[in-house]
Point group: C2
Chain length 517, copies 2
């Protein structure tokens, strides 16, 4: 497989061919590798004559490219024993993940995950953007992030015995705002009509330009965005899923506070993004947590005995519940008659499972005696309502996008679910509450961290660059106008699984079986 | 006339067109200016959103280009009253000349000339290249030059009331070695077989990469070279003369320690370079000087009375003689019978004009009483010999190049003589001693500082960039193999005007008339 690292043999100069060293190298890159317009910075040209003579005109070059330019990011004598490293970065609002890649073999060498240090300024992007508008705020936010990234890279390299100066290609996938904050770009206009990024395609820059100290010629590629709310993480996800390389129509969903959805195949692509609410990230209920040890990630309820079967991450006593656990819980409650089709809790069905708190009936998910923190884990009606709003938004977005092309869900051949959400969610539960459409379960495919996966693939395959550029050009961005139609759909989707029960035949069958209606 | 400065109107963003600011600008550059692949550095992208909104989507952009890339070198609101400046640099081994250019109007604003500070290390290039090979030597030579240039630019701007931070495009023309020393490139291989430059086309770089503090985005374009001995100054000269834009065949000669010659027209170009010796730069005789106040630049000798008519620069009492004066002197001596056809002085013809020094007959050019330093200005036979070697080399190079194409001098439609030499030399005198071929005088055209002229033209006309690239591609470099044929030609050319007198009919007629042979 072609890589970013290439070995080049130069014809040694002679009296008949005394073209300059740089000119000779460029000619070889053009003739042997089909590479035009390779940018050499002055420092590289300065070191060229000694280097190519030291290695007898056999050079190992590392390149990095965007659609407009090609950078030399490292130059060694051919056959150097030391690895040439790439770094894939998934830059999330809450967390970021680093992955070291061997650019010659494509092997993944090590990875690490850290909290985004900008959380200190604000957990959400909006707070950070407002902070960036204060004097010096943008610089401060960028410096905070870059320092943290640098320390994390240094640590990752140290722990795995690599030299960070051998990192020459960095591929970063993040949402549009995080990419802007990373590059120090003006975020002011992202959140004001008509929602214009400073750059959808910032392209390649030198790592030193953002203040990262990696290899001396290291370059950074940021995945492009399609708009303020449709970021590089999505394009990395599309790349990772191979969405636009298939004939079959696929849906890709990435759910966080925003739900970002892409529909398409190798001929066309359409995307949209909309607010799904924080319920799916474990941010709404009192016991809501991000996935972690002791957090409930799976719930089963026996419709007959109404017994709860609960699983926690690392099998520790439970202290909270994550998004996928909450969806499982809601599905279980619904299919066992503890939640009605309007999404209201039904305490009468099992009074011993309920207690009163602040005058409200609360479901006891875990008794105090069984919990990890000595307190009962309770779920209230408003928390359920919040989840239902999120699931309704999710479904409405999927429905609107698909319908905008005159398609139905039955036309979808594969359904990729990205992110942590996609990794832990049980599609069956999500269908049961009407969050995802009622498609055969085998069509659902969790992608895991597709943003990181896409960035890693770009470091492994130079052709991926062309795929991303093509995807970017072909992407139609659908502005989700929250009009009356959308609101009607949304209202209909706030029922379990939906006011139009015919859309969820498998759920209705299950419900009838469970409740013997 | 198109300039490097362009005013661009961007379509303001709307909900229907929320492409990013950078993407919008690139699209406009592509659609309105036909510019693809414009490189924006991160700093420019960072300042873009605020800037384009401040100026209501009307931007004044300054660009600079080589054949591979286009840089943005400045961005202002459209209609800014302040000038955008270019700096043309003729970087000679001995001296350099700066010229400030208004990039919007093309007007030349100011200029200055300075000694090349590397003279402290060695007056000639070879000494400097050997110095550069010592540890730290190359860096030291570069730093010495850059500091001096920076101070000279600062002074030029200060004296003419310009802000040096408004200089955004710098065009530099120098010989290959000086261009290498300016860029900090390795000069080691320039002087060793097979004489390979680090880069014949270093292309555009940021001024900050060479350590010059001009405008924050300022870029430097160095004219390309065709080899170690055929430099960017020649390509600037070809551009300035318009050599490759004419149908007629032209010769261009640039004489210094090396004679560089180009022959061609708009269909083909061939060039060569050869050592002409230092005689023509005023460096060989005891009284030889570079042109300056009190230096003799013209000599006439009346063949009948043998009276000398002497002109000095600034009309000061004479203290030395420059190259053009020395050629005049030799021509006058020859045409008045004081120098024979073998180039030997003839004291017998005018004994009172000669004195003995170190056992040799020396011609008294100026008596001690008439000189500017109280000493007689004397010319000895070895000094004449040196001049004759130089003139013979010059003629042989011209002859060899022309003959290599099966052409004769009669095929040459215009004869450009570049440099200080070309500005002061009297072609009639140069023909009289057989240094230049015996062509009608009106064909000779002095170019002045064609290297500076070419650099200035490149700042005035973006199209000049294409002309230089085309010239560079079409240039055939003739390696002057100093073989037996060349040596035979050289020996024949060491006579006055030549052993083959038929080649110089006008000189022979003059000689016959003067000496009434």
């Amino acid at each position: 497989m072609p890589r970013w690292v290439k070995e080049i043999r130069l014809a040694p100069p002679s009296l008949d061919d005394h073209s300059g060293d740089l000119d000779r190298l460029k000619r070889t890159l053009r003739q042997e590798c089909g590479l035009e317009r390779v940018c050499f910075d002055l420092e590289t040209i300065q070191s060229l004559p000694a280097m190519i003579r030291d290695c007898a005109y056999k050079v190992r070059l590392t390149l990095f490219q965007d659609r407009e330019k090609t950078f030399i990011t490292r130059m060694d004598p051919a056959g150097s024993p030391e690895a040439v490293l790439g770094l894939a970065v998934d830059l999330g609002t809450t967390r970021y993940v680093l992955q070291l890649v061997d650019l010659e073999t494509g092997a993944v060498l090590a990875s690490a995950e850290h909290a985004n240090p900008q959380i200190k300024i604000g957990p959400d992007i909006l707070t950070r953007i407002h902070y960036a508008e204060q004097s010096g705020g943008a610089k401060e936010l960028q410096a905070m992030l870059i320092q943290d990234l640098q320390a994390a890279v240094d640590k990752l390299c140290r722990e795995n015995d690599y030299d960070r100066r051998r990192i020459c290609n960095l591929a970063l996938a993040g949402n549009t705002a995080m990419t802007h904050l990373f590059l120090g770009l003006d975020t002011r206009w992202l959140i004001r009509e008509p929602y214009v990024p400073a750059a959808n395609e910032p392209g390649l820059c030198r790592a030193s330009e953002v203040g990262l100290d990696l290899g001396p010629l290291a370059a950074v590629y940021c995945f492009p965005s399609a708009g303020s709310y449709f970021g590089g993480d999505l394009f990395a996800g599309i790349l990772y899923a191979g969405l636009d390389e298939r004939q079959a129509i696929s849906l890709l969903v990435d759910v966080g506070t925003n739900a970002e959805v892409v529909l398409g195949n190798r001929d066309w692509l359409i995307g949209c993004a909309g607010a799904a609410g924080p319920a799916l990230e474990g941010g709404v209920s009192e016991i809501g947590r991000q996935a972690g040890p002791g957090v409930i990630d799976r719930v089963r309820i026996d419709a007959g005995s109404l017994e709860f079967e609960i699983r926690t991450i690392s099998d520790l006593p439970p202290t909270g519940i994550c998004g996928s656990g909450f969806i499982d819980l809601a599905a279980g409650l619904f299919l066992s008659g503890l939640l009605d089709f309007r999404g209201k809790l039904v305490p009468e069905r099992c009074p011993e499972r309920f207690v009163q708190r602040d005058g409200q009936d609360c479901l006891v998910l875990v008794e105090a005696a069984d919990s990890g923190n000595g307190q009962a884990l309770l779920v209230s009606q408003p928390e359920i309502d919040s989840l239902i709003r999120s699931k309704a938004a999710m479904y409405t977005i999927l429905e609107t996008l698909t319908a905008s092309l005159g398609l139905g869900f039955e036309d979808v051949g594969r359904f990729f679910v990205a992110g942590t959400f996609g990794q832990y969610i049980d599609p069956e539960s999500a269908i049961s509450i009407g969050m995802l459409p009622d498609l055969p379960l085998e069509l659902f495919q969790p992608l895991g961290n597709s943003s990181l996966g896409g960035a890693t693939r770009l470091l492994q395959e130079p052709e991926a660059l062309d795929i991303v550029s093509r995807t970017r050009d072909r992407m139609t961005y659908l502005e989700l106008n929250v009009n009356q139609d959308f609101m009607n759909e949304f209202s209909a989707a706030k029922f379990l699984p939906h006011t139009d029960r015919d859309r969820f035949p498998s759920v209705i069958r299950k419900l009838e079986r469970a409740l013997k209606i």
